[in-house]
Symmetry: C2
Subunit: 208 residues, 2 copies
DNA sequence: GGAAATTAATCAATCGTTTGATTAATTTTG
DNA sequence: CAAAATTAATCAAACGATTGATTAATTTCC
């Protein structure tokens, strides 16, 4: 008799991420994680040392996979505006494909606790920001873009996307959109991308 | 001899708000609240019934004081753009004067738990959104504003401000700004207001 | 057979809450 | 007015439940 093989380690990671997203780090108990993953409680400490170890591992994996996604954009011989539009598209897609994690990340970021996590997230975000900063700054220097408050423009781009993800379903969109519904998610994605591309085009390139 | 009169009820509320902001709801114990406020632990339940009761009370007071701040704007006989600029100014000031609370609110909003709180926050935000929505929609209808994705513009305005508040000190601004430093806060406020007013002016009124 | 994986049982610590008693202030009563 | 009765505020201690973590025994797998 062969019982179905399940990777308990992976099961714990997935269950923990789901629960951390739903009820927060402090709000999730190791017993819940064990139950949800189908593993024994002791396995959590066996594989990850502690509850926080699970959390750190989730963050590390996520951040690592994020880092490998970008950086190709800046090699292309395209205009600054086109670069920016590609970054927006990539950023919207990435975040709306990982809404639960993104929520969790922002929650963790707004806590002064857990400095190690804070620094990790900060570094990951900082990398994205520098990419956008470079594109816009280059655009300004070569005269394609208006002179704007670059950091605030970045705050606008990132903030808009985060707002779409975090705001309550019934508040943000007109009717009852649900980001868990793939069809709705696609619509929201396209709207966000179209809006941000239009906004940046008008704001950065309109001659006064 | 008159010992200094301290309102324990108020002390608990203030201590709890501070701690909830810093370490989150689940991350704060009733013992911490008691210690920080100088009140006995039992007073928490005596006055508010439960830990959650404290939280609900904080939210109610804040939301109530928020609600009494707006609504005068729409009576003035000024242009849609000017109305919008006043709303932006008010919104930036309000949020940057209550950064800790605003962080806490967003954290709570991103949790699927505590539906009562969720609904309260949602309603409060919804009110603000409707105000902005009305202004922009009116502007579009009377031809002053371009036809834009209104809800996305609102997401941009709110998201930008939230991003400024939540993003790590060392990430968002160029150098080491600190929102707890009044001087820095003033600068950030002015930058955010100037940026959003400029952005909305260009985006909403530029004729293509 | 031996290392790795998994288990049930248990640990001390902490959680939010409740208790019964005490003090201080206020109201009622004679 | 002053004694008695009532109420509100505060306290130390303890409650049962749950927390994250650990133990020691057992099973699985190569």
């Amino acid at each position: 008799m062969k019982t179905e093989k399940v990777d308990k380690r992976q099961a714990i990671l997935e269950a923990a991420e789901k629960l951390f997203c739903e009820t927060g780090y402090e709000g999730t108990s190791t017993r819940q994680i064990a139950k949800e993953s189908g593993a024994n409680m002791a396995m959590i400490n066996y594989y990850f040392g502690s509850k926080e170890g699970v959390f750190v591992e989730i963050m590390n994996e996520r951040i690592a996979s994020f880092g490998s996604q970008l950086k190709i954009i800046n090699e292309d011989k395209i205009s600054a505006l086109e670069k920016l539009h590609r970054v927006i598209e990539g950023y919207v897609n990435r975040i709306l494909n990982n809404t639960a994690f993104h929520k969790m990340m922002h929650r963790e970021l707004s806590l002064t606790q857990r400095p190690e996590m804070y620094d990790k997230i900060k570094d990951a975000m900082s990398h994205n920001m520098q990419l956008i900063d470079r594109i816009i700054t280059d655009g300004i220097e070569d005269g394609t873009f208006n002179k704007v408050d670059v950091r605030m423009v970045i705050a606008t781009i990132m903030g808009t996307i985060t707002n779409v993800v975090i705001s309550p379903n019934k508040v943000m969109p007109c009717s009852n959109f649900d980001l868990n519904n793939p069809k709705d998610k696609k619509i929201i994605k396209e709207r966000a991308i179209a809006h941000l591309q239009d906004l940046t085009t008008v704001y950065l390139t309109t001659k006064k």
